[in-house]
Symmetry: C2
Subunit: 109 residues, 2 copies
């Protein structure tokens, strides 16, 4: 699972809010529409983005579709950023890495 794709879907403020709501409890499209103050159409389009990124999935119950977060995606995000945290700590700790990577490999034209 690819972290860059997940955060690309999550970074839009409205979608981030929607996702946070889904972490509290399941929601159908209409419920989210009311809560967020945008049309059901807009919610549906956001859900499509979240769904195709692998962040959420829907369960059909009669008339309604209940959306909820994919555990696998949330795990992936948590692990990726924990790894970044470790990398950053290492970088600050290791003085050998505290040099710019630029080397004069270019020709002046």
């Amino acid at each position: 699972m690819k972290t860059a794709i997940l955060i690309k879907a999550l970074c839009e403020p409205m979608r981030y809010s929607i996702f946070q709501q889904l972490l509290v409890r399941k929601h159908c499209v209409r419920s989210l529409s009311k809560k967020m103050g945008i049309t059901e159409s807009a919610i549906s389009q956001h859900m499509k983005v979240l769904r195709e990124a692998g962040l959420v999935y829907g369960e059909k119950y009669g008339y309604h579709t209940h959306y909820l977060p994919c555990q696998e995606a949330v795990d992936c995000l948590a692990e990726s950023f924990e790894q970044m945290r470790q990398q950053s700590l290492s970088l600050n700790r290791d003085p050998k890495l505290c040099e710019c990577a630029f080397r004069e490999g270019e020709e002046s034209k």
Copy 2:
């Protein structure tokens, strides 16, 4: 520190790649320009976004400015997503939360 702002800055693919490079070692603008294959101007604009989001900062060394990630921001991200992971686990575990929040509070026009 606000997670939504951090991921909004990070979600752009080029900026995500830049940030990953900075987790390995410091880089100046020119170095990133070479590595990423876009102009220094474009890199500089990306750095501005990352800087203003609080994700990176620059240290001046002679001619060069070395950019590196802010530990505080990386910590914030790691903690936020770990919290999401816990929320998601709770949601899947608690059957009471497995209901859509929608209630018929609307008037049919």
